[in-house]
């Protein structure tokens, strides 16, 4: 047998993180991290919203359903919301959603809310790295998905969750 056969290398689990960032603080901080060339784990996909108050619990559930292993919500620090109260609304919804997620066996580290100001590019880097490391330890989120057999699939059911454990 030839000695130069390459054995398949077990791929490390690469978690997928969906991040909902508010336009005014956290997304700007993400931009700043880029401009400052602060490298962070490539596992995070950022979705820009106008305000963290726009983050409906349904968005988080839909992300988890469609294959995210974790969800990060980023908003302005308390008192700094561009729309005055949006981040507080986000905080209230987040707390209730977390209670529900615990009941559903979704670990605490998978869904996070962080206040990140426009100047805190380093915090984006830190949180992205930290969360990626934590999710690697936790492994993939194992949901039990049962789609409807017919009819219009609900928006979040389509497409079905892709296979877990592949590199992003």
């Amino acid at each position: 047998m030839s000695s130069n056969v390459t054995l398949p290398v077990a791929k490390e689990f690469e978690p997928r993180i969906v991040a909902f960032f508010c336009n005014w603080c956290t997304y700007t901080a993400g931009d700043l991290a880029g401009a400052a060339r602060l490298a962070y784990a490539p596992n995070m996909r950022v979705i820009r919203l106008m305000c963290s108050g726009r983050v409906d619990p349904e968005f988080v559930l839909a992300a988890l359903r469609q294959g995210a292993d974790g969800v990060l919500i980023g908003g302005c620090h308390p008192g700094d919301c561009h729309y005055r109260e949006g981040n507080y609304k986000c905080l209230r919804r987040f707390q209730l959603l977390c209670k529900f997620l615990r009941q559903m066996g979704v670990e605490e580290q998978r869904v996070r809310l962080e206040w990140i100001a426009a100047s805190e590019g380093d915090k984006v880097q830190k949180i992205a790295n930290e969360m990626t490391a934590q999710l690697k330890l936790l492994g993939p989120l194992r949901l039990q998905i049962t789609p409807r057999v017919n009819g219009r699939p609900r928006a979040a059911e389509c497409p079905p969750a892709p296979t877990k454990g592949v590199a992003p």
Binding site: E58, L91, R92, L96, R142
Partner: protein, 330 residues
Amino acid sequence: MSKPKVGFYWCASCGGCEESVVDLAEAILDVTAAVDFVFFPVAMDFKRSDVEAMADGAMAACMINGAIRSSEQRAMAKLLRRKAQILIAYGACSHQGGIPGLANLFDRQSILQTVYRDTPSTVNPGDIRPEASTRIPHGEVELPVLDEQVKSLDQVVPVDYYIPGCAPPVQLLKDALAAILTGRLPPKGSVLAPDKALCEQCPRAPSKPDNLLIDQFKRPHLERIDPEKCLLAQGFLCLGPATRGGCGWACINANMPCTGCLGPVSRTRDYGGAAMSALASLVNSNDEAQIAAMLETIVDPAGTFYRYGLPASLLFARAGANADKGGHEP
């Protein structure tokens, strides 16, 4: 000309849906004048073999109530789907998974252990569990197998229409029967009920403040409830803002908050998510610890916001170790 044939079957349900047919009262005479019931195990003596003997599509319509959680129910759902031109998921369990769907917070093994071993009223020294087949002196007997999870009807067979509610309001049943008989049916996949939130035309709406905030969540069995004022404004967890209307405000008129049995309106992807969003944003505090303390009084979010629809929700069931065998049919 023979009358259209109609079937009515139950799966994992309580019998309340059959009660709603009885609630038609005198109007049931009009129904039996217009259609022939050819399968209705609760009320009439027809057997499964009678259904099997029918030609495919022989029934104009069949309504199935109850969630699907056993091999027998799955087989019956598939059989009735073949025999019926229009298959209707009748009631909250069939539509969304219903109250039996809360079993999806647990796995099958722990449910069987609770029921056959752990409850204080259980006396089962031999730890006997239901078996798919058992030998007895007279031969082999079989029992349906309990599934790993509870499903809504449309997670097992294609469903044409839904009649929501726990149990469905009589008016929705009347309207649906009229629509079937006249052929004036909406596009397939529709829920046969108004597509507006219960709150919108609530008789208590005038007492709902423009800027509604809640200082303390109250539980209806512990407080005196004002029979006129908006229940949310009083601090009760009323799910009217997230729930489809069409029930005639039955609970509201009985001075009880809405618990969400008609499920979501068509724009909603996840009923409980929408309900949590609506309710949590009313918490009158910006302080993290204070918000947490207020939410403490919502002791069971899954049972509160997904009472009638955990299987139809985006997460479907508790995540975890059993995920890989989850949802698959044997």
